[in-house]
Symmetry: D2
Subunit: 118 residues, 4 copies
């Protein structure tokens, strides 16, 4: 990870886990479950809202959603640390893959997944 805010977060999250002797629980398998559990909580905020309402949250709801996003980021960073994966670098690599997979001329305004183009 480039030296910036994600590195600082990573260091502090690692210290947080070590101070609690929690590294023993932080296998990639377990962290993937924790991340997916938080993703499930995120869904619950939106499941009965229209798409439009999901863009116009009350301040209270928006804050609750913000904290879910933070939980997801926290577990994502922990996974990156445990697996020695540079998240930002890989995100740029994935963007390159997506650019090749979804040429902008071909997919304009069309959200079908790549495997549905044939």
């Amino acid at each position: 990870m480039s030296r910036d805010s994600l590195d600082d977060l990573n260091s502090q999250l690692l210290a947080f886990a070590r101070e609690r002797d929690w590294e023993q629980f932080h296998s990639p398998k377990n962290l993937s479950m924790a991340l997916a559990g938080e993703a499930g909580e995120l869904l619950e905020h939106f499941q009965w809202l229209s798409e439009e309402a999901s863009s116009n949250l009350s301040a209270e709801k928006r804050d609750a959603v913000a904290l879910e996003l933070a939980d997801i980021l926290i577990y994502l960073i922990r996974l990156g640390e445990r697996l020695d994966i540079d998240l930002v670098e890989t995100a740029y690599r994935k963007m390159g893959i997506n650019q090749a997979r979804y040429p902008k001329e071909q997919v304009r305004g069309d959200a079908r997944r790549a495997d549905e183009y044939d």
Copy 2:
């Protein structure tokens, strides 16, 4: 978000969506589903592995996992942008909440969730 690699990613992801006229699909509701879908793919890599094996992935599998983490980061950043949430700042705020909720003296080596302490 502080001015660093997440900002740059955010700008490029926004441009990617706009060039494809995909902002119309990127409601927070839909993005939460896409993020949770990627979290599900992440689980599938680990579901039949022991915790130990999940820490010792083959190069090929580790790379596949890295790309899932990248997808999750990408949707997380898109959600932050759509909801005007600073992910890094909120992660620090959540860490503060966790520090109060799980005092290190009390939870050392114990992974029960906060609501199970009483």
Copy 3:
């Protein structure tokens, strides 16, 4: 489980796992991941569709969705078997809880979650 189609499915799924020596992988922890992974695949079918479009699937897409639902049912039955939980009986018990939690006079046409009523 009452003696009916879920029992038959349960017996056949157990035989399927035993013939492959797969019971060793079917811990409740692992099965919960497999189930959530399938739930993630289900989301991916719907994530860019409007609610209305999600009710009007093409025959091909509807069949793909049907197979995801089947996968979820399969892992649900396996979890019930491993934990000795009667799914149907518990679903009736949960319906009773929901009836008390969401009195029909109070929640008519309102989908907020119970913890949002106060």
Copy 4:
């Protein structure tokens, strides 16, 4: 669905939704989110447990897990109803597909996914 306990549950769940005027919220898209949200809650029960511990739950925890499974079954049945999919019949069809995909001689004691066999 064959005439048995799932049919009865289906009828009662439909009545429950109608009495609350909740069918308007029960698009397949929204129900898929609700199901995945419950799958996320299921994960949270198991995420820090060893596989072995996940097979030896306390009575209290086992009951909490049972209620999550019930929630998942409830949303699964609602999805089947909305999309006119016979869950049990499709589960048998999927079992047939799995039997062809994972011949018992070939996969004995090996949990890799089908796409990893080549």
